[in-house]
């Protein structure tokens, strides 16, 4: 099952490995040939051209194993130490959005003509040198290259040291605005494709020791070829084993997507916080609106308690040890309401949603496990990304075509009728 659209298929993780493998083998063949060539040429260099053809031993045994293991690529595969280019390599087109972190522009690479997104970092009032959050974002993007993670091309600088721009692939839409302008929600088959892409991106980040910590629909970009890309790693950070040495902040994840353990003040949290957000996104795709639209943390908790049923010792054994658990009065026990909220879901679909929206972070499904969930192998099957519809891109300044008005009645019909009536004898 392919979850990536055709134009980008080449960049799938596994394909690349195969290619590497083949490159090694090819190199090996060339090397082997060269070796035999040089050997054969030595004794008689009078007719070198003929020699190559004839002297090739019939059974050149090529080594079946590549010379290098995949974990140790050849020296030449390493990038060189390259200073940042100037921002003047790009031509500014239009502003896409402005946030607390800085401004995003659409721009064109003057050399290649590629359209890119330029994110200008705000560095003016920095007391602690280059901001650690920007550093985390750049590092996370550079170390998490994946089909479903927005690609970072480079980081360019302006004239002064306070002008730094992150150059990323330009992606036409974000999922949030797409969900609001779409006339009808995504189909089940489409949701499956989107979820598979999201889960594989999250699994990739987690396997590279990166927590995203701000997964939400507005941070999921989508191109016109049915591929979504996780973006905005502004809150991302590396995690270790054991998790969160030195403590981690609770000021992460946009409220609606925030996991209950963060809400209850846990100082060590891990990959499970991202999985909760994935659950919220999954529900949002199904409902076409955010699952928990709470105004504050208390309201959010009560919404969670209502949907999942209040936590108890079996559903969340560590609940009582959380810092803020004592300050909350739990509502009376009540069963979960997933079935009532999601009428048309299959049992497997509800099961996946409940595995993602699970209280106990230790029991919450991981991205790798979720990718293997039955939901994705039952009918309707995930739709191929190429079959997704396309939409006008607000970020590229494209306008939505006006919906067709049904043709109105001939303008002067009434008059005409009137006239005929009048004319009638």
């Amino acid at each position: 099952m392919s979850t990536t659209s055709t134009p980008t298929r080449k960049r799938s993780k596994w394909d690349e490995d195969d290619e590497d493998d083949e490159a090694f083998r090819l190199r090996q063949q060339i090397l082997a040939k060269r070796r035999t060539k040089s050997k054969s040429v030595k004794p008689n260099d009078a007719t070198p051209t003929r020699r190559i053809e004839t002297s090739e031993p019939p059974a050149v045994r090529l080594p079946t194993r590549p010379r290098h293991s995949l974990y140790v690529p050849p020296r030449t595969y390493h990038p060189t130490i390259t200073p940042s280019r100037s921002v003047y390599c790009y031509e500014r087109l239009n502003q896409i959005e402005e946030g607390s972190y800085g401004v995003v522009f659409r721009a064109k690479d003057k050399q290649t003509g590629d359209i890119v997104a330029l994110k200008k970092l705000k560095l003016d009032e920095e007391k602690h040198g280059f901001p650690i959050t920007a550093l985390r974002e750049i590092n996370a993007l550079m170390s998490c290259r994946h089909d479903n993670v927005v690609g970072i091309r480079e980081v360019v600088v302006g004239d002064t040291l306070t002008q730094v721009f992150v150059v990323m692939d330009f992606i036409e839409h974000d999922l949030k605005s797409l969900l609001t302008v779409m006339p009808s929600p995504f189909l089940q088959s489409e949701i499956k494709t989107l979820m598979l892409q999201l889960l594989s991106a999250v699994a990739h980040c987690h396997s590279n020791w990166i927590l995203h910590r701000d997964l939400k629909t507005s941070n999921l970009l989508m191109n016109n070829r049915g591929t979504i890309k996780v973006a905005d790693f502004g809150l991302a950070r590396r995690y270790g084993d054991p998790v969160g040495v030195g403590g981690m902040t609770q000021l992460v994840v946009t409220l609606w997507y925030r996991a209950p353990e963060i809400l209850l003040g846990a100082t060590t949290y891990s990959t499970a916080v991202d999985m909760w957000s994935v659950g919220c996104i999954f529900a949002e795709l199904l409902l076409k609106e955010p699952l928990f639209q709470a105004k504050g943390e208390i309201e959010l908790l009560s919404m969670i308690f209502k949907l999942l049923g209040p936590p108890n010792t079996t559903s969340w054994s560590d609940y009582s040890s959380l810092p803020l658990a004592k300050t909350l009065a739990l509502p009376s026990p009540q069963p979960h309401q997933f079935r009532q909220r999601f009428h048309y879901m299959t049992t497997a679909g509800i099961d996946l949603l409940m595995s993602l929206l699970t209280y106990d972070p230790g029991k919450r499904i991981t991205a790798e496990e979720a990718l293997q969930h039955d939901y994705f192998t039952e009918s309707p099957y995930p739709k191929h990304p190429d079959l997704f519809g396309s939409f006008p891109s607000a970020a590229a300044g494209e306008k939505r075509r006006k919906p067709f008005d049904s043709p109105s009645a001939p303008a002067r019909a009434a008059d005409y009728k009137l006239m005929t009536e009048f004319d009638a004898p």
């Binding site: 290098h68 140790v72 060189t80 130490i81 940042s84 040198g129 280059f130 650690i132 550079m142 480079e154």
Partner: protein, 286 residues
């Protein structure tokens, strides 16, 4: 897979380093790099900073000199910037003032060593004179620190991905069945740390460097491993003999006997001004 690939210097960057192009002899450049790394190391110890941050700083420091001349930036400032940056990268950020105080101490001590050498009847006891809280020393060093951090980022193209060798060493020692020899483990670990004073981490991939540390260890401790082609233990780790041997050379060069003049020479060249003066005095003569 590209995630695992750290940037390494290209052939032309190695053959013609920016400092070398400015007339700095290669051995002096190596000495200055080593001294800059020692300063980073000492600062790391005084600040009780994690070794991962210190090692990362030293690797970034070495990469920097493949794209920048020591005529433009001093090893002191860049070392300070590298340690500050690496501490953020390793999620154990330092306070600017702490770092600046420690570097101030180290630089004062260097000046003292220098004075002691030039006039033998100077007071042999070093006494640290703390800077004033709002003094210009602090603000000068702070500016230098901010600029150095930004310059490192900019000149390395913001690719500050570093892979440290320690995990790989543990794996390799296990594969070779050397984990029971505590002396071998300690020694190999030590070679890896000492190698941080040489540019090898900006020149070779980690498996090569780790293999070199193991090679030096086994030779020194007379541990025999399969080493006759086609059965060479370093082939297991995809390291080429020439490269391993070259890294060994870099490391062993650190331990050669140095006379006092050579040792003191680098102490007096922590800043770019001193490097410039040295270049004017020595390159002009030729």
């Amino acid at each position: 897979m590209s995630a695992a690939l750290v940037p390494l210097a290209s052939l032309s960057q190695i053959e013609r380093t920016p400092s070398g192009e400015d007339g700095l002899p290669a051995d002096l450049e190596d000495d200055l790099k080593a001294f800059g790394c020692k300063l980073i190391h000492q600062a790391g110890i005084l600040l009780k900073q994690k070794q991962v941050a210190v090692a990362t700083a030293q690797i970034l420091f070495h990469r920097f000199w493949f794209v920048t001349s020591m005529k433009q930036f001093g090893i002191g400032d860049v070392g300070m910037g590298a340690l500050y940056l690496a501490s953020k990268l390793e999620e154990c950020p330092l306070r600017m003032r702490d770092l600046i105080n420690v570097y101030d101490l180290l630089l004062q001590r260097a000046t003292h060593t220098l004075a002691l050498h030039s006039s033998p009847n100077a007071n042999p006891d070093f006494k640290y004179a703390p800077m004033s809280y709002f003094g210009t020393t602090f603000y000068d060093l702070k500016d230098a620190l901010v600029v150095a951090e930004m310059q490192i980022l900019k000149r390395l193209g913001f690719n500050v991905h570093v892979v440290l060798p320690y995990g790989t060493l543990v794996n390799y020692l296990r594969v070779l069945g050397l984990t029971s020899r505590e002396d071998a483990c300690t020694r190999a670990w030590g070679y890896l740390n000492d190698a941080l004073q040489t540019p090898v981490y900006a020149l070779y991939a980690i498996p090569t460097i780790v293999s070199a540390a193991i090679l030096l260890t086994t030779r020194h401790l007379h541990i025999s491993l399969p080493s006759t082609p086609p059965n060479c233990w370093w082939d297991l780790f995809d390291a080429a003999w020439e490269d391993v041997w070259c890294v060994c050379g870099y490391i062993m060069r650190l331990y050669r006997d140095r006379d006092m003049v050579e040792r003191v020479r680098v102490v007096g060249m922590v800043g770019k001004k001193e490097v410039r003066r040295w270049l004017e005095e020595n390159v002009a003569e030729q």
